[in-house]
């Protein structure tokens, strides 16, 4: 006699027991199934959305980048009257109408850039230049508006074809990354066909005169939610466009940008990053990392998924009472057999184990069937959603079934089942053999 044999026998007996009253077991399994199904679906949605966000965040790429703005002044209380005028306040350069005063934040000037550069831990600072090209055209196929993602130069794009933009140092001429949705209108058959072609970008100078600049298509990006969906220009192209834009501009305006991107050592610990942020905050700048920005979104989404999961767990707890009920009936039905087994020398512990295994088996069946059904439903739902409602969100797989959370759910359901089986199992194990044998 060995331990595996004893366990094997116990499991066999327990499974045999649960299959003996098939209808009752089936109904209980269905109750567990509903809970497990719901929990699997909600957790798959959680996994799907977080992993989508993760790829989008990876699109931002740079974990070593701080977005820096001047900290907004607290709005002056209205009963104090308007804030005093400061003639030194810079006015944003670029294609903004007016002098930038309608924005709550002040612009970053060259002085600010120097100050930021002086902060310990900052490697370099680039003001984000706002260029507003008017159109883009390929091969005389018509002019189309071009949206530009100003911060794209510092991110790793999610490419459908081609290669990312080259850095400023590599002097590769003017380069542009298009978006997959642009291709059709511009007259490209496929993403690969666009790579290496030259498109013309039209922009106006300060006096309104149009100029055209050629740019090579370096690659084509998938549409991305978080990066704003604009085309990306390399530093050389941005500089050229910026220069054209400011041609003829009066010389007495202060140049500045709303946003600056600063690099820090990628190997920095969280503590070091916090120190840099605190230093910048002390000087009147707000610095956030990509992780900070994404963190907020992720917190909200995990909150929602958490609530959904909680509902699923409530369903599982209800199913747990189903298990209790089923097993209590089973104990009742089995009174005589339990008594007999006890009379024949079966210990209370093993009878307890027997009923516990039966409970866990019901939980296991329910959770496995629930998980499989959820995966099937998920596959269908993913296909349907990707083709209709969520067609614009490329790369989003709403339901994602990762092995780890699925395994965790199965274990959780089995644990709930085990806990539910505790009460009936205890009752069974404490039965007095004589009372049980007298039971009619």
């Amino acid at each position: 006699m060995n331990i595996t044999d004893i366990i094997g026998t116990a499991i066999g007996t327990a499974i045999g027991n649960s299959l003996r009253s098939r209808l009752r077991t089936a109904l209980t399994v269905i109750a567990v199934f509903i809970g497990a199904f719901t929990l699997t679906i909600t957790s798959a949605i959680g996994t799907g959305i977080s992993s989508y966000i993760d790829t989008q965040v990876a699109g931002f790429g740079a974990a070593d980048v701080l977005s820096i703005t001047i900290t907004a002044d607290d709005a002056a209380p209205t009963d104090d009257g308007p804030a005093p005028y400061d003639p030194d306040q810079a006015i944003a350069a670029g294609g903004f109408q007016g002098d930038g005063s309608e924005f709550a934040t002040s612009v970053l000037t060259a002085d600010d850039v120097d100050i930021i550069e002086g902060v310990e831990g900052i490697l370099d600072v680039n003001p984000v230049l706002q260029v507003t090209p008017r159109y883009v055209e390929y091969d005389g196929n018509g002019k189309f508006e071009l949206a530009v993602n100003a911060s794209a130069a510092l991110s790793t794009p999610d490419l459908a074809a081609g290669s990312p933009l080259q850095g400023a140092a590599e002097s590769s001429g003017n380069q542009i990354l298009l978006i997959t949705s642009d291709l059709d209108s511009l007259g490209f058959e496929t993403a690969n066909a666009a790579v290496g072609e030259t498109v013309m970008i039209g922009t106006a100078d300060y006096l309104g005169e149009m100029h055209e600049v050629g740019a090579t298509v370096a690659g084509v990006q998938n549409q991305s939610t978080l990066t704003g969906g604009g085309g990306a220009l390399n530093q050389a192209l941005t500089d050229e466009l910026y220069e054209i834009q400011n041609t003829g501009k009066p010389g007495n305006t202060t140049e500045g940008a709303f946003l600056a991107m600063a690099h820090f050592d990628a190997a920095s610990s969280e503590e070091e990053i916090n120190t840099i942020q605190a230093d910048l905050a002390a000087q009147g700048y707000t610095a956030v990392t990509v992780a900070d920005q994404i963190g907020i979104i992720q917190t909200v989404i995990s909150g929602i998924v958490g609530v959904l999961n909680a509902f699923a767990v409530i369903a599982l707890i209800a199913a747990g009472f189903g298990i209790i009920n089923t097993l209590l009936m089973s104990v009742q039905e089995w009174t005589r057999e339990i008594g007999l087994m006890k009379a024949m020398g079966m210990g209370g512990g093993r009878i307890y184990t027997l009923f516990s295994i039966e409970a866990v088996f019901i939980g296991f069946l329910g959770s496995i069937i629930g998980a499989l059904a959820a995966m099937g439903t998920g596959a269908i739902a993913n296909n349907f959603l990707a083709g209709t409602v969520l067609a614009d969100l490329e790369g989003l797989q709403v339901l994602r079934f990762a092995p780890l959370p699925m395994g965790a759910i199965t274990l959780l359901v089995m644990l709930i089942a085990f806990l539910a089986g505790t009460l009936p199992a205890r009752r069974a194990s404490r039965q007095n053999p004589i009372d049980a044998l007298r039971y009619e």
Partner: protein, 234 residues
């Protein structure tokens, strides 16, 4: 020390409390020698079943001493008592207590399963004992489809499968007609004679009791008479 398998002194047992209190046994003393057959005879409610339950360690007495092979049963652990019941005792009940939808073989090997014997050995020993009781051809039948006599033979096979030293039989022929009852009796007594298995039979059937080596009459929880059957004694 005596050679008795089981010995009790001044055993008492009561159920309920207060005015509902019922004294099932009021001080019974008894010694059962290895290899003998004993009939405990009495009407229903006389306490004979209670006495058997106490002897078989299915229940604990309120007073008195119970010795199993010279050891005080109250000093045995739960595990030891379980093993004793599993390995040394066999049970034959009037109501059979077979699992109706399980096969004959599955029913018979239940004590082996409880003892943790491997599947192959279980089957071999189960078939061997069914062979002995001429039930081998019924091994795969469901217990529910057997006749009363066959059922009781299956129960005896189950009691025998672990080679017990004592078989406790509670009205073994109570649910059987005279002819099959006689057959079952023959099997029990041949086990007693040929294999030296101690037999403790609880019955109100005087004819069955008369076949035993010794008869103990019990009434209202007390022993009223004990008879040694001279013609049957070895």
């Amino acid at each position: 020390m005596d050679t008795s398998v089981l010995a009790v002194r001044n055993l008492s047992k009561s159920y309920g409390r207060g005015t509902a209190r019922f004294d099932a046994l009021k001080g019974v003393s008894l010694q059962i020698q290895a290899g003998e057959s004993l009939a405990i005879v009495g009407k229903s409610g006389s306490g004979k079943s209670t006495l058997m339950h106490l002897l078989a360690l299915l229940d604990t007495p309120d007073g008195g001493v119970l010795l199993v092979k010279g050891t005080d049963a109250s000093e045995l652990s739960v595990k030891q008592v379980s093993r004793l019941r599993n390995e040394d005792f066999g049970f034959v009940f009037q109501q059979f207590f077979l699992t109706p939808n399980a096969t004959v073989l599955e029913n018979v090997v239940l004590p082996l399963k409880i003892a943790g014997v491997g599947a192959r050995e279980r089957k071999a020993r189960g078939m061997a004992v069914l062979e002995k009781l001429e039930l081998a051809d019924k091994a795969k039948n469901k217990a529910i489809n057997l006749s009363g006599g066959q059922k009781q033979r299956v129960v005896i096979a189950r009691a025998l499968v672990n080679n017990p030293t004592v078989i406790f039989a509670d009205e073994p022929t109570g649910n059987l007609d005279t002819v099959t009852g006689r057959l079952v009796e023959d099997i029990l007594f041949s086990l007693n004679k040929e294999h030296g298995i101690t037999l403790v039979i609880v019955t109100h059937d005087v004819e069955l009791a008369a076949r035993c080596d010794r008869r103990m009459f019990i009434r209202d929880g007390r022993e009223v008479q004990s008879l040694q059957n001279s013609e049957n004694s070895p």
